[in-house]
């Protein structure tokens, strides 16, 4: 996969150079943005609630046993804001949206639609790539904010109703407020912004370089998702290290 890194970076650079075209392409950015929201909001909601819940379930009883019940809110809050919401949402979006981008652009490449754009002197980076990368770069951080809130709520619900914990909402959120700073949430959101750029660029690149027929499209979709996830996990470590101060 890494032999394409250069090409992917070049595509990203070209997209940056295309940024002045944003106003012209705004309609497509909106369309893509709402498509992403539509396609993933419910899933984000369900997934985040259960992630919050399972984190509370995993750490809560152990903390309560050591009479640290008051720390549960902070642990769950931090884990979700800094790590789980950004990474899990990025992986979800890679699977849900990255795959769709690779499939759509890939089929356009295979059926010569991209060539047709070129003959009309329409730059595929302006027309196809820029709106998608911008849309996902706005949408994913927003989804992550949403996911953090729902995840906290899920954690609080489980901490409250699980008999091994029985932590009141008030206590849970008071501790969460004590420990989690705005900066922690901002860190997570910033990471998700970087992940969004990775998903968008990798998926669009994979789509544009699709060759062959339907099987080629299938291969591109798989590669787009797998490569995005691998890069997300690697960059997650690097970014976390970088933001650690």
């Amino acid at each position: 996969m890494f032999k394409n890194i250069g090409e992917i970076m070049l595509l990203f650079w070209r997209t940056l150079l295309a940024l002045p075209q944003t106003w012209r392409q705004r309609q497509k950015v909106y369309d893509q943005f709402f498509e992403i929201g539509n396609a993933s909001l419910l899933m984000v909601c369900v997934l985040s609630f259960f992630i919050g819940g399972v984190i509370a379930l995993n750490f809560g009883p152990a903390l309560v046993e050591r009479s640290l019940a008051s720390a549960v809110g902070g642990v769950v809050g931090l884990a979700i804001a800094k790590e789980l919401a950004p990474v899990m949402m990025a992986i979800l979006i890679a699977g849900r949206i990255g795959s769709a981008m690779a499939a759509e652009i890939g089929s356009m490449a295979v059926y010569q639609e991209v060539d047709a754009l070129r003959t009309m002197n329409i730059n595929p980076v302006h027309y196809l790539v820029l709106p998608r990368i911008l849309a996902i770069a706005f949408a994913l951080p927003l989804l992550v904010v949403f996911s953090v809130l729902v995840g906290w709520f899920g954690g609080a619900v489980v901490a409250n109703y699980n008999h091994a914990m029985d932590i009141p909402f008030r206590v849970f959120f008071a501790n969460l407020k004590d420990i989690v700073e705005l900066k922690d949430v901002a860190n997570g959101v910033f990471k998700s912004f970087c992940f969004a750029l990775i998903i968008g660029t990798v998926s669009c690149h994979q789509g544009l370089t699709t060759i062959g027929g339907p099987r080629g499209i299938g291969r591109s979709v798989t590669k787009a998702v797998v490569n995005s996830i691998v890069l997300i996990v690697i960059f997650d470590y690097l970014l976390t290290r970088l933001l650690l101060k």
Partner: protein
Amino acid sequence: MNRSRPSTQGVDLIVRGLRKSFVGQEVLKGIDFAVRPGEIFVIMGPSGSGKSVLLKHLIGLETPDAGEILVNGDHISKPETAAKYRMALVFQSGALLNSLTVGENVGLYLAEHQLKSPEEIERIVGEKLADVGLNDVLHKMPSELSGGMKKRAAIARALVIDPQLILYDEPTSELDPVSAVVIGNEILDLQRRIGVTSIVVSHDRDLAFGVADRIAVIGEGRILTIGTPEEVKNFQDPLVQSFLNADFHREK
């Protein structure tokens, strides 16, 4: 009909020593020809002889392994050339954008480059679709059209560009004889009206001999002969003759 049209001048095109291989298979083995401004140049040749590959080179979609292509003296490989001249390719498959309606496809060039107001684009799109004999398809999706209708919509999309050079890949291959004649006449009409340079790839002998100023026959990656329809018809080469005179044998 009295339509105001910007007068365009066809460009000339020179191809020298063009070679191209795909993974070990040499498809074009040194192609040389020159097309004069405003000429209708037909390229014929058997299936798989590299005609579509040649057209893609002419418009800069493929980069040659060797040789050069000049449009009015400018190398097609330079990015400025694509912006300087209006060139259009009608793909063999049509290559309409499947996510857009037919109307949006045909108006795409004008809309993306913001050359006209939306109302004017709508008018032009309707006019060009009528030119190729398509009515009531404006709001249909390409998947709802037949093969021949897609081809005609693709031709309309090329006409909208108001091209100086237009390349047709098998413009009549999926059309009934009447529609084929409509397209053939449109090719002639376009040349007469705006002096566009046309390169037509076709197996359709009626179309080729009906519209061509000159014909090139290619086979196995080389040009076998170039000349006026008369010269080509009389060219004594077994490959050319067998291609031009292929016919069915039916026991009486």
